[in-house]
Structures are given as structure tokens and as C-alpha cells.
């Protein structure tokens, strides 16, 4: 039928144009990058096959870490208020209560051994930048000791983070020292002025990044920011795939909170339109029978 032929021509022309300006143009402007690596296999200073001893780790953590880091879950409160800590170290050191769960084991061990190389921040804190990273390298510890610290952090971390509240905890633990999220009422623990000096760039408010960057981008960006924004000041944070999913889900729960409603209402409205079109067709047929 002629009308179908016309429709086919229009669909073809619109389809080609759409393909060109949407999927194709985006693939040109944002080329695919290497897949996210959640094993962090590029850092291998510490033999992570060693079984850690949490008892011993507890002693090491209490001797080395709690001067800077709070660990609320093990009753080690913060030594000083956020602002003072930020003034002292450049950025407020995060609470380590969740560290054993949210960070990948291999990443965490190697981070303790040498934070700068694990975070991929050699361009900011390398030997010839004249800057030192605020957290010392514990490369003087034996691999066994480092694995003990890891084992201890794992032993005190809650095992799961469920629901929106749980996702929020993960977000705050992983990103909260630098990023605010206005639409969730979350303010970065480090004051803005300190961040600007420390990072050389202001970490953006993440309320709408689920929309502006999208899940796909965030998936590789959080795993390793340098891949997409070469030379950026944001560190690789070393989250496990699961913890990263929680963070992204939280960004969606805050940034696109009506998604579920949109999808259900959408189905009903489309169903309504189909019924409407059907009745309209029957009416049209009845009326046109008289004139054809």
C-alpha cells in the first residue's frame, strides 16, 4: 500500500539521520576506552596471597593509622574536627570503618605500601613534583604486616550495605571527603578552600552526574579516572566492583529519583495510547467506508 511505502521512506530517512547524530556521533566524540579492571593488577608490590592476622593488624593500625583516621566502628573517634584535619593534611582523612569492605584487597594492600602509585597520582606527587602525599608510604612494613592490617580492616567492616541508606554510607566513605551531593544534603567533609588548594581543581557536586555522565562513563571513570580524564587530580579510589555499583546506584537514587515511577507510568501511558489508536482506527474505518 502506498501509505506504507511513504511511511517506510520517512522512517528510513529519519532513522539514518538519527543514527548519525546520536549513536554514531557519540561514538566519535567519546571513543571506547579500556574496560574497567577491578583486580587492580597493575600494582603488585605486596604479595596478597599471604593470609593476614587480624589480631596483629589491630596492633599495627592502632600504632600507625588512628592518629589521622577515625575508625568509628572500632571506637576510635576522630582526633580533630574535619576542618582542622583538612588544614593539617590538605584533605580530611576518611573514616576507615568501611575500608575493609569497599576497597579491593589487592588495591588496599598496595595503597598502604605506596599510596601515590596505587592512586595513579605520580603526576601530582611524583619525586620531581616537589609535593609529598599527606599519607606516608608504609613500604617499611613487611608484606605479612600489610596483609595483617588488611585482615584487621576487613574484620571490622560491616559485611553489607543495603538499601539507599547503605549506599549512602558507601558513597560517603569513598567519595565524601572530596565531593558534595547537594540534592542529598551531603557536604564534602573537607572545606572547599582546602580542596581547591590540595587538588588544584574543585571536585564537582555529584548530584546530577548520573545524568550528565551516565552509568557507562561512571563505570570506567571511578575505576580509574586517568583513563578518561588524563592528568586529572582525582585519585583512583580502588573500589571493589560491588562497592562501585553501590556508589553509582546511590548517585541514581539521588540524581534520578523518579526513575521507577517514570517507567511504570510510561508503560500505562503507552498502553493507553495503543488503545486510543485502536479505537481511532475503528472510528476512521467506519467513517471512511461511506466515502470510499
Amino acid at each position: 500500500m502506498k501509505e506504507f511505502k511513504i511511511l517506510a521512506v520517512i522512517i528510513a530517512l529519519v532513522g539514518i539521520t538519527y543514527y548519525g547524530i546520536e549513536p554514531y556521533a557519540h561514538s566519535v566524540m567519546h571513543p571506547e576506552v579500556a574496560a574497567a579492571d577491578f583486580t587492580f593488577k597493575d600494582v603488585k608490590n605486596v604479595d596478597t596471597s599471604l593470609a593476614g592476622n587480624a589480631e596483629n593488624g589491630k596492633v599495627l593500625v592502632e600504632a600507625n593509622c588512628i592518629a589521622c583516621h577515625a575508625i568509628e566502628s572500632a571506637s576510635h573517634p576522630q582526633m580533630m574536627p574535619n576542618a582542622d584535619a583538612a588544614a593539617a593534611y590538605g584533605v580530611t582523612p576518611p573514616d576507615l570503618s568501611h575500608a575493609g569492605r569497599i576497597y579491593d584487597k589487592n588495591y588496599l594492600a598496595n595503597f598502604i605500601f605506596d599510596p601515590v602509585s596505587a592512586m595513579h597520582l605520580q603526576h601530582k606527587f611524583g619525586p620531581d613534583t616537589g609535593k609529598t602525599f599527606p599519607m606516608p608510604s608504609y613500604n617499611w612494613m613487611t608484606p605479612q604486616e600489610i596483609m595483617d592490617v588488611v585482615a584487621y580492616l576487613q574484620s571490622i567492616a560491616p559485611k553489607v550495605a543495603e538499601g539507599k541508606e547503605g549506599h549512602k554510607v558507601t558513597f560517603e566513605a569513598a567519595c565524601g571527603r572530596c565531593h558534595s551531593m547537594k540534592y542529598a544534603g551531603i557536604e564534602a567533609t573537607t572545606p572547599t578552600e582546602n580542596l581547591k588548594t590540595y587538588m588544584g581543581a574543585t571536585p564537582p557536586d555529584l548530584s546530577q552526574h548520573i545524568k550528565s555522565r551516565g552509568e557507562h562513563y561512571l563505570h570506567s571513570f571511578i575505576n580509574d579516572p586517568q583513563v578518561l580524564l588524563h592528568g586529572t587530580a582525582m585519585p583512583r579510589v580502588g573500589l571493589t566492583e560491588e562497592a562501585q555499583e553501590e556508589v553509582i546506584t546511590y548517585m541514581e537514587e539521588i540524581g534520578d529519583s523518579k526513575k521507577a515511577e517514570r517507567e511504570t507510568v510510561g508503560l500505562w501511558v503507552m498502553l493507553y495510547s495503543v488503545v486510543f489508536a485502536l479505537f481511532a482506527f475503528l472510528w476512521k474505518r467506519k467513517i471512511w467506508e461511506e466515502v470510499h
Partner: protein, 416 residues
């Protein structure tokens, strides 16, 4: 005042006062439309419905939107999208609707060109249609600025900057349009006024004018045939509904429109709920920042072709800078469709495919617009810049050649 008898029914009561019986005859049951039409003739009604949807969703958005550079972004992305009940629905309908209305406008326009519905008495329909196209362009552009995202800001910056190329007054003109030396609060507030008051008013007027312009020449039909409407209408009224070449607007024409509308709405609502990224650019969910230029700046898809006509001229020719050449080409591209009825010198009113020369012209023009649209989005680097230049040049040549092509056609068909 005439004497009023007591009315026997509500209908009669209204008829005495408003003449509704005659009115509905003139506007509906005896407003004659040719029978030989396909679904492309329903695009006008779809446009009218889309405009209504935009108006209603816009009114709801207006209740919460704040035209202030410090509040606009959050009033849209937080208050409307996440706080107010179904605010997101109105925004999605509005944003997707604004994009889709252009798709339908283009289909409607090219249908007009394909069937030659702009000449031999239909010039004013075409002119009023182009007036609508220009008003909708201004409406789309001013509306895109309101969420105050990165693309709002930078598209506004780039497009207002274009006026700076106009000789002598350019610089002052840009400042006059922006209300400041750069795109700022004053710019946002005045574009807000244009978007919610002045342009919609003008559009309402232009739609009325467009409909009125359809009245005397009547709409065209699939074969371009001219016939005596009075005669055909008499046939229809006498009961020869099958033989008559006309149908009344109500209910026959509208029943088809409503069906086409129904199918269209399935597609439209699919986009609204599940596939809206093309109309709500991700980059616009970053708040406007005048110090941070996005890597790629591009206008909404429906402006891409004319943007590429502008961008295609990137090198100096005979002492005239690429920028000036681009500006001239851009001005030409935006004005040329308006004089379409006078560029087509062939008297033939027939579907393009039945016209010996025009058919090549028509499909070339469509292909060229598609190429321009595509390359208007791609980064203008390397070979892309040359393709853009080629397509931009082709556009100009096509329209300059049109009078000659159609003149030759007129000769060939011997004035038929």
C-alpha cells in the same frame, strides 16, 4: 437589538446568541478537504496537538521555574524533576515535545515542497508556515537556555556571538541582545520573557493566520489536481459521498487525523518515557560555567543543518574571511525557504516524483540537508571540515539553480 424568541433547547439558545449552527458548518461540517490525501496531510493536526501539549506542560513548568542564574538549574533539576509530583512528566513532555515538533515541522514542510503545495494560490499558506518555522526556532532556542546547563550557556554564547559578524552594528547588537557583555542573568531573564510570553503569543497569532490562509486556496491533494470545490461539495451534500472529490473536515478528515495522531502518540510517549536523551542532552545536566568550555558545542539537532552551513566556510576566499562567508551563507540558508514559491518557476503542481527535473532537485536537497545535519554534530576537524564545506556549497548551489531547473522543466512540459 433583534427580537429573541424563547429557545426550545440549549442548542437553540446558543445559536440565537452565537450563531453556532452556522459557525460549525463553516468551520467543520462544510469545510471541504480533498479526499485524495494520505497520512502526510495529518501532520498539520499533529502539530496543532503538539503545540497544545507544549503549552500545557509549559504552564505547569512555569509554576516552579525560577529565571535567575543562581536558581534556574536547581529549580529545574531538583524542584521540578524530583520534588514536585509529576514535575518530571511535564518536563519530559515539554523537552521531548519541543524536539519532536521540529521533526514533524520538517516532515510537514518537505511534504509541502514535495507536492508543490506552495504555489498557484497557496503562497500565503507557505509564507505563514515559514513564519511559524521561524517563530518555533526562536522559541526552541530561547527555551533551551532556561535550564541554565552547560549546553544552554554555551549554545547561547555561540549563537548570540553570530550576530557579532554583522557589519558595523554587530558588536553593539550582541550586547543589546544579551543585555550584558557576556551571557548573564540579564540574558536569561529576557529569554525567559521571550519564551513564555512574546513568542508564544506570536505563535498563536501565526497559527490562526496559517489556518486562515488555508481557507481560500484549500489544501492540496496527492495528485495536485485542481477542481471545482463548489461542485464537488454539492455532490457530497446531495448524497454522492463516494463520487465526490471532497470530504468535510468533520468528521471525515478529522477521523483520519485522529487515527494518525494515535499512532504518533505511541511513538511520542515511548520517547518521552524511555528514550529522551536526544532531546535532553546529558551535558546540560552540568550547571552552566562560563569558565569551562565543553569539549564539543553543538546546538539542538534541528539547528544542525544551518549551523553546518555557517561552519562549513572555514577559510578565506578572495579576501573575505571564512567567518564572514559562513555568516552570509547562514543568512541565505535561513531566508531562502521563505521565497520557495518564487524560486520554483515551473507551473506544475504535482508530486516531485512526477516532475522530470524537480525530482532530482528534491531528493538531492533532502540528502544534502541530512549530510549537513550529520556533519553539524561531528567535530569539524580534518576531512569533516571539507565535507561540511562541500555540503554547504551544495546547498547554496541547489537553491541558486532552482529557478533555472524549474524554468527548463516548464519548457519541457510545455506549461502544463
Amino acid at each position: 437589538m433583534a427580537e429573541f424568541k424563547k429557545a426550545n433547547s440549549m442548542g437553540e439558545w446558543f445559536d440565537q446568541r452565537l450563531g453556532v449552527v452556522n459557525f460549525s458548518k463553516v468551520m467543520m461540517t462544510e469545510y471541504w478537504i480533498p479526499k485524495e490525501i494520505n497520512f502526510l496531510w495529518a501532520m498539520g493536526m499533529i502539530l496543532a496537538v503538539m503545540f497544545k501539549l507544549l503549552l500545557i506542560s509549559g504552564i505547569f513548568l512555569l509554576m516552579y521555574y525560577k529565571p535567575d542564574v543562581n536558581m534556574a538549574f536547581d529549580s529545574v533539576n531538583y524542584t521540578i524533576m524530583q520534588d514536585v509530583a509529576y514535575g518530571w512528566l511535564f518536563r519530559h513532555i515539554h523537552a521531548v515535545g519541543a524536539s519532536v515538533i521540529f521533526l514533524i515541522i520538517y516532515i510537514h514542510m518537505f511534504t509541502g515542497i514535495y507536492y508543490g503545495s506552495y504555489k498557484k494560490g497557496r503562497e500565503m499558506i507557505w509564507i505563514s508556515g515559514m513564519l511559524l518555522f521561524m517563530l518555533f526556532s526562536a522559541e526552541g532556542f530561547s527555551g533551551y537556555m532556561l535550564p541554565w546547563g552547560q549546553m544552554s550557556y554555551w549554545a547561547a554564547y555561540v549563537i548570540t556571538e553570530i550576530f557579532g559578524g554583522i557589519p558595523v552594528i554587530g558588536g553593539d547588537l550582541v550586547v543589546w541582545i544579551r543585555g550584558n557583555f557576556y551571557v548573564a542573568d540579564a540574558t536569561l531573564t529576557r529569554f525567559f520573557m521571550l519564551h513564555v510570553l512574546l513568542i508564544p503569543l506570536a505563535i498563536l497569532g501565526a497559527i490562526a493566520f496559517h489556518f486562515y490562509a488555508l481557507r481560500f486556496p484549500h489544501v492540496n491533494n496527492e495528485s495536485g489536481e485542481f477542481f471545482d470545490y463548489e461542485e464537488e461539495a454539492e455532490k457530497f451534500k446531495a448524497g454522492d459521498k463516494k463520487g465526490a472529490k471532497v470530504i468535510p473536515f468533520w468528521p471525515v478528515f478529522l477521523s483520519k487525523d485522529v487515527f494518525v495522531l494515535g499512532v504518533f502518540l505511541i511513538f511520542f510517549f515511548y520517547l518521552v518515557f524511555f528514550h529522551y536523551g536526544f532531546a535532553m542532552d546529558p551535558i546540560n545536566f552540568d550547571k552552566a560555567d562560563g569558565l569551562k568550555t565543553p569539549a564539543h558545542i553543538y546546538p539542538e539537532w534541528y539547528f544542525l543543518w544551518s549551523y553546518e552551513v555557517l561552519r562549513g566556510w572555514f577559510f578565506e576566499i578572495a579576501g573575505v574571511s571564512g567567518k564572514d562567508l559562513g555568516l552570509m551563507a547562514f543568512g541565505f540558508a535561513n531566508a531562502i525557504f521563505l521565497v520557495m514559491p518564487w524560486l520554483d518557476r515551473s507551473p506544475m503542481v504535482k508530486p516531485a516524483n512526477q516532475r522530470p527535473y524537480f525530482k532530482y532537485w528534491f531528493w538531492l536537497m533532502i540528502a544534502d540537508l541530512m549530510v549537513l545535519t550529520e556533519f553539524g554534530k561531528l567535530p569539524p576537524t580534518g576531512p569533516n571540515a571539507w565535507v561540511g564545506f562541500g555540503a554547504s556549497l551544495t546547498f547554496l548551489v541547489l537553491f541558486i539553480a532552482l529557478p533555472f531547473i524549474t524554468k527548463a522543466e516548464a519548457k519541457k512540459v510545455g506549461g502544463k
